[in-house]
């Protein structure tokens, strides 16, 4: 593998550049995936059948906590990549750990939210609205869960192998993924929760 030292570590080999471009295209596919979910959500949002409407079940407090946690984690993963760029391995690992802890916190609140919905009679089978609500939130939540494991593996690899073109590439791609989940959440926050509560 040829290494080009004039580029940042994560871009320094040919395969690394391919990986990053490939991941951007994957994010393109993910945008289509969530766009389909949102389109379905807008179509079915008022079709509540005999079940509750969004305004009856949404609570602002847990949603605000989730938003705060996830937006902060997007900032800290940015700091992690910055630390990586200037070669500070320990700082990078610390920010990675903080990011994942924030993500874990987000997931905890989301799980609470889900059990709450089911508890008050807004389960998957209740109506078209609850089905698409839980599927959209659940798809995002599944992405976050996958990200937690993925991020953990990257921490272990950086710890063991140090900052190499390989590990830096993985860490950088993970940061793209994490930012993307944040953007999806902003859409969920605005168009599912805020719009639903109005």
């Amino acid at each position: 593998m040829k290494t080009d030292h004039s580029l940042p570590l994560e871009y320094s080999t040919e395969q690394n550049q391919l990986n990053i471009l490939g991941f951007w295209i994957f994010i393109g596919a993910e945008i289509m995936l969530f766009a389909t979910l949102f389109a379905t959500y807008f179509t079915l949002a008022n079709r509540t059948g005999t079940g509750p409407a969004g305004s009856e079940i949404f609570e602002i407090t847990p949603v605000l906590i989730e938003t705060f946690l996830l937006l902060t984690s997007s900032f800290t993963i940015g700091l992690a990549v910055h630390a990586m760029r200037i070669g500070k391995k320990n700082a990078m690992l610390t920010f990675f750990v903080i990011t994942l802890l924030l993500g874990l916190g987000f997931l905890g609140v989301e799980i609470y939210e889900f059990t709450h919905y089911v508890h008050i009679g807004a389960g998957l089978q209740t109506s078209a609205f609850t089905a698409v609500l839980l599927t959209t939130l659940g798809t995002h939540g599944a992405h976050v869960t996958l990200g937690l494991f993925w991020g953990l593996f990257i921490i272990l690899q950086v710890k063991k192998r140090g900052l190499t073109p390989g590990t830096a590439n993985k860490a950088f791609i993970f940061s793209l993924y994490w930012h993307f989940l944040d953007i999806v959440w902003i859409f969920i926050f605005s168009f599912v929760y805020l719009k639903g509560m109005m």
Partner: protein
């Protein structure tokens, strides 16, 4: 024993029991054969674990041909059933199952792997690359497709085939009206294969954007590579829609959700819309690579460069864009109202414009050319008039108000077969014949190939042309029989006769493969057609590293310039080549996906959870695995090159 009752066939018949026995015997024969000839190691090392784009292409090809015969047998059963009025060969249930699997197999498990077979084999060679960007993901794509195909194909012997049409419209496909597990098979097998296709899409876009030979700018790419590029862009934007749609359909069927039901707010029309938002781009995913193949073949055998290169590229891009804006024309009669219908009628007819540009470009390429009527060229020339009939009837169907007359009749069936068969099947057979020498080092017999072409071309028209008339007279599609008084009998019988001729044509192709493998000359050089693009600049069969030195390109037809004007294509010295290692993970992971899908089909939650965890464990294993590939030394390359040169010249 109650646990095993779920695997029973809901509508058994002697034919299905015979198929069970045949499948069992085939599996035993394969296992015994591999053991007897001690080929397990060979199969594992050279094929199951390979990441070489050429071998993956060949595996796609073999699978596609197998599926072609499975789908073809379905087609023959349908034509036989409708050959005479009030026929009792198949009952309504079996006919439903047969037309459903015919559609699914032909579109998802025949046409898709066929185009990916040729893309895999040809695109990296045409752009002068060593492999695709992510060779291991490429293997995963293939194996996911393969396991998806296997999952659908066991449905008719374990638990029952899907029977709600290849479009699987709800509420028909919901639990109330489709009670067997058949539609679960549909949802999960297409889901698994679809994930593989999406990965391929990402892989090929990255490959084409980043791995082209030095000097090959985007507007200097061969036309097949251009179509592959745009096709994969459509894949990346259309397949996630299918993923979500199938997910929601699965949740309706397995978990009692209400996306597409008729109670609790569900909306059945949502399925139709989402399905066709994927489904119509899918049509262009199939046709654009075919257009690319015809462009290569027509240019090669007319001995002229392609007419209107830039307008060809522009029309591909415009088609890909419009393909996302026409989906409603599949259900004009289902109540959108005149405004929506009018808009979609206009976008539908607009697609005829860029397609027409392409037709004229091919005609102008042939104009004053020294045309050689080889087998690939016969398919290409046959394609133009037949496809034009398909296109013109498409414009007829695209007129929303007139569509009320044609909708769901045999006219529609005739129309889409007139586009898909010359468009995709002819192109794949042409491409297969054209690139066969590059894949295997010998040509298929031209004599038998020409016979096969005429059987197929005539058989096709005799089969499908009568359907235009019966359709206009009101024969509905998907009806398992009709009365004698309807008067549809004679034309349907003619259609069955045509289907037999068509089947004979495909049998001739099989015979051709056998005959040519035994008797064809191996001494044909690396460029038997005197072609124009880079894949012909390396040896046949192609060495694992494709090109000993990377070609340097400065025109659209650098290889042609190399041959006719002494343009130096290979300037550099031979250097050590870095290649990816083989891996068993894609195959193993796809096997687990198969069990995963099977568990979901039958709602067996414990194996479903175990396999889900296993899939993630394998992904984690891959994350920690250190694999930097291997290097092929200069000495080894030179030895291979000398050997191949000696054999060829």
């Amino acid at each position: 024993m109650n646990y095993f009752d779920r695997f029973a066939i809901p509508n058994p018949s002697p034919a299905i029991y015979a198929a069970m026995v045949a499948i069992g015997l085939t599996v035993i024969a394969i296992v015994v054969g591999l053991t007897y000839f001690k080929k397990w190691g060979y199969i594992w090392r050279e094929w199951l674990t390979t990441v070489d784009h050429k071998r993956i292409g060949i595996m796609y090809l073999v699978s596609a041909l197998l599926m072609l015969f499975r789908g073809g047998v379905d087609a023959l059963m349908m034509r036989a059933q409708t050959a005479i009025p009030d026929n009792a060969l198949l009952d309504a249930q079996h006919y439903n199952e047969v037309f459903t699997t015919h559609g699914v197999v032909m579109i998802i498990f025949m046409a898709m792997p066929f185009i990916y077979a040729l893309m895999n084999f040809v695109v990296p060679l045409q752009i002068g690359a060593r492999d695709v960007a992510f060779p291991r993901l490429n293997a995963l794509s293939f194996w996911l497709f393969f396991m998806g195909a296997m999952l659908l194909n066991i449905s008719f012997v374990v638990g029952g085939s899907p029977d709600a049409g290849w479009t699987s419209y709800f509420p028909l496909a919901g639990n109330d009206f489709s009670q067997s597990v058949g539609t679960n098979y549909y949802m999960l097998s297409i889901q698994i294969a679809g994930i593989g296709t999406l990965i391929s899409g990402i892989n090929f876009i990255t490959t084409i954007l980043k791995m082209r030979a030095p000097g090959m700018k985007l507007m200097k790419m061969p036309m097949f590579t251009w179509t592959a590029f745009i096709t994969n862009a459509i894949v990346v934007f259309a397949f996630p829609v299918l993923t979500v749609t199938l997910l929601m359909g699965t949740m309706d069927r397995l978990f009692g959700a209400n996306f597409f039901t008729t109670t609790n707010g569900g909306m059945d029309m949502l399925w139709a819309n989402l399905f066709w938002i994927w489904g119509h781009p899918e049509v262009y995913i199939l046709i654009l690579p075919a257009f690319g193949i015809y462009s290569e073949i027509i240019s090669t055998f007319s001995r002229r460069n392609l007419y209107g290169y830039k307008s060809m590229v522009a029309s591909i891009v415009i088609i890909s864009f419009l393909s996302f804006l026409v989906w409603t024309h599949h259900f004009f009669t289902m109540g959108q109202g005149p405004l929506t219908n009018s808009i979609f009628a206009i976008t539908t007819m607009a697609i005829a414009v860029p397609t027409g540009i392409k037709i004229f470009n091919w005609l102008f390429t042939m104009w004053k050319g020294k045309i050689k009527f080889t087998v690939p060229m016969l398919y290409a020339v046959g394609f133009i008039p037949i496809f034009t009939i398909g296109g013109v009837t498409g414009v007829m169907l695209g007129m929303a108000s007139a569509d009320y007359q044609y909708h769901n009749t045999m006219f529609l069936v005739a129309h889409f077969h007139y586009t898909i068969i010359p468009g995709v099947v002819f192109a794949m057979l042409a491409g297969l014949t054209y690139w066969w020498p590059k894949m295997f080092g010998f040509k298929l017999s031209e004599r038998i190939g020409k016979w096969a072409f005429w059987f197929i071309a005539i058989g096709f028209n005799v089969t499908f042309f009568p359907m235009f008339f019966t359709g206009l007279n009101g024969q509905a599609r998907r009806m398992y029989t009709y009365s004698e008084a309807s008067g549809f009998g004679p034309l349907n019988l003619l259609s069955f006769g045509g289907a037999l001729v068509l089947a004979a044509g495909f049998a001739l192709i099989v015979y051709n493969v056998y005959y040519s493998t035994r008797y064809a000359s191996r001494n044909i050089g690396s460029d038997p057609w005197d072609a124009r693009t880079l894949e012909w600049a390396t040896h046949s069969p192609v060495p694992s590293y494709n090109f000993a030195t990377s070609p340097k390109v400065d025109s659209i037809e650098a290889f042609w310039d190399h041959k006719k004007n002494d343009y130096p294509l290979f300037k550099g010295e031979v250097e050590e080549i870095h290649m990816p290692n083989n891996s068993g993970i894609p195959f193993i992971m796809s096997c687990i996906f198969f069990v995963w899908g099977f568990s979901f089909v039958f709602s067996m939650w414990i194996p479903a959870i175990i396999t889900t965890i296993a899939i993630f464990v394998l992904m984690a294993y891959r994350s920690f695995e250190k694999d930097d590939g291997h290097h092929i030394s200069v000495k080894e390359i030179e030895e291979t090159e000398n050997k191949l040169r000696g054999g060829n010249k």
